[in-house]
Symmetry: C2
Subunit: 342 residues, 2 copies
DNA sequence: CTGAAAGCGCTTACAG
DNA sequence: CTGAAAGCGCTTACAG
């Protein structure tokens, strides 16, 4: 491979001039610029990015830590990140943890290794020690997309998970539901913890009982929704509504309901979360909470870009969600309806 | 940041010894090894990956070029790649082209820049000039997951798209269908070209007419399936079956059929392609062609790993597909049935 | 506007 | 088993 040296020799200038002519054409004379450009072309020069990064101490790369690249949710967010990153000349390294938090550490280490300039984490269950040094300061450029609770203001982009979850439950209660079950994610994940609290707080607010057998943890996949849906519908006192903290789980519930001949929505209301494209294509179409996935990605990347360029970023950005009412929800059967005093 | 120099000073050895003690512990004396390890810990040493890569001329990174990270199909393949790459110490750079082939070039250039050791392309419409040099040789470690037609044997991992498409059409014909439409992808993409040929060849083989208005190009999204499905069902002579070259498009067809009150499968059979998880969760459950997505990813990565380690790889690997019969297909109404002489 | 020189941090023949 | 030295390919103060 050709190097600056080869170009310099052919153009009859120093390597310093080659470097300048290629990086800052305006600071060399037009005639040398031309000579260098021609020589670079002739020898088929292409700069060694490793050497450049080593010298400049910047890799122009960031790592996206994500729990699971399979998930439509995350790939949409990554798409948003990618769009903005590319525009600013940043490359993206995949930091898939396969849902094992043990692998998170190795991706954070890429920063110490100078292989990435920063971390954009879509995982929110990160040990504090990875982010904060002994003096209690943030030790690397990082933005977290998701909930993160800490004494230190780590820049975070998220939706209001608590409030969004409440909206769904409240909507059901307004229609007269009171036997409302909840299929959520791993409760140690701050995102699902917040949503589950939203569910509980709303039930409490309306003086509705919180039944343990109505609150189910899962991985929020199709199959989990399917299995836990069966579990709920087999209860001697089954719910009249199920809120799911993912669209996939909700669609799993839709399927088992059909198999068990429980009519949705007339006998059972089902609500999802995310508003994935497919939520509009299932039967019945899914009522769900819309999350601006691509915007979450873009906004996180924008924040990280700010940090990287030395600006003080907003420490926290909350993006709006929206309840999308479609066909999978309606008031419960008359005999199960709750009279709410407004 | 601490460097080898700092460790060397503290341990009282040379930088060469530090490097050896850390990379090949067995070639230094136990006592020095211990000193170095302790010193490294004390100063908080972490090796500079850029310097190492520059020196060793390998980045331990490969770029995954993919048309569209949003797509469930591709993210499953990437998942397979990731699993194996991680095991062998390789990092993955995202090369999302956002369906614009113009962006492919910049990802291939990462190899010249020494930023990646090879390319794993999930895009198959790559200009030959990016792969082959003036002497007609492959100029970089590359594996293509998908169809690639060339005089040069570029290592390729794929399914038999032509044959797989045929299986679906033949299955419909066996049941008596003859008015079979086809919603495919961009025909300039070799993958969809092969599938469409499979469709046409099967029709021809059974002496069935190939109707231009029955063959529709699209981006294979939900919405395209929905729109093109309407177009087909509005024809004065509508098809009794539609084969779609993605599950999403098939699910779009399912939706418009429902809205137009065309019963699936009794009045219309629908077949998808890919066997995404959701194909089992739609209504009716989708008959489709299974593709081993994760295996495609793993196999491609394995091939690339072989190339990277100097082995001659299999130039081409064809992975099996499978027709999965579910609820969305059945024989056509009696009056539309074709009598096939076997 | 240009060149000589230093240096980013590592690894590896070479010599002992 | 260990050290001195070179070098990967670039960029950038410094001096002119």
């Amino acid at each position: 491979m050709a190097t600056v040296k080869d170009v310099a020799r052919l153009a009859g200038v120093s390597t310093a001039t080659v470097s300048r002519a290629l990086a800052n054409p305006e600071i060399v004379s037009p005639s040398t610029r031309e000579k260098v450009e021609k020589a670079a072309l002739d020898v088929g020069y292409s700069p060694n990015g490793l050497a450049r990064s080593l010298r400049k101490s910047e890799s122009k790369t960031i790592v996206v830590v994500l729990p699971n690249i399979d998930s439509t949710f995350f790939s949409d967010v990554v798409h948003g990140i990618e769009a903005l990153a590319h525009k600013h000349g940043y490359k993206l390294l995949i930091g898939d943890t396969g849902n094992e938090s043990s692998r998170i550490g190795s991706y954070f280490e890429l920063f110490e290794s100078k292989l990435v300039d920063g971390v954009l984490s879509l995982s929110s269950d990160i040990p504090e020690s990875m982010i904060i040094n002994a003096q209690g300061e943030i030790k690397l450029p990082i933005v977290i997309a998701g909930e993160y609770f800490s004494d230190i203001a780590v820049p975070t982009v998220h939706i209001d998970n608590n409030y969004s979850a409440k909206k769904g439950v409240e909507y059901l209660i307004m229609m007269g539901h009171h036997k409302i079950a909840c299929i959520t994610g791993k409760i140690e994940n701050p995102v699902f913890n917040a949503r589950t609290n939203g569910y509980k707080e709303t039930m409490k607010k309306w003086k509705l009982p919180i039944t343990e057998s109505y609150i189910l943890e899962s991985d929020l996949s199709f199959i989990s929704g399917y299995n836990l849906g069966r579990q709920l519908l087999s209860l001697k006192n089954p719910p009249s509504a199920i809120v799911c903290h993912s669209d996939e789980a909700a669609i799993g519930v839709l399927k088992i309901a059909r198999e068990m001949q429980v009519a949705v929505p007339s006998e059972l209301s089902v609500i999802g979360f995310d508003n994935l494209a497919l939520s509009e294509y299932c039967v019945p179409e899914l009522t769900t909470i819309h999350q601006p996935r691509q915007l979450i990605g873009e906004t996180s990347m924008k924040l990280l870009l700010d940090i990287l360029s030395g600006k003080k970023p907003n420490p926290e950005m909350t993006l709006p969600t929206q309840l999308i009412v479609r066909e999978s929800s309606c008031p419960p059967p008359i005999d199960q309806r709750l009279q709410v005093d407004l």
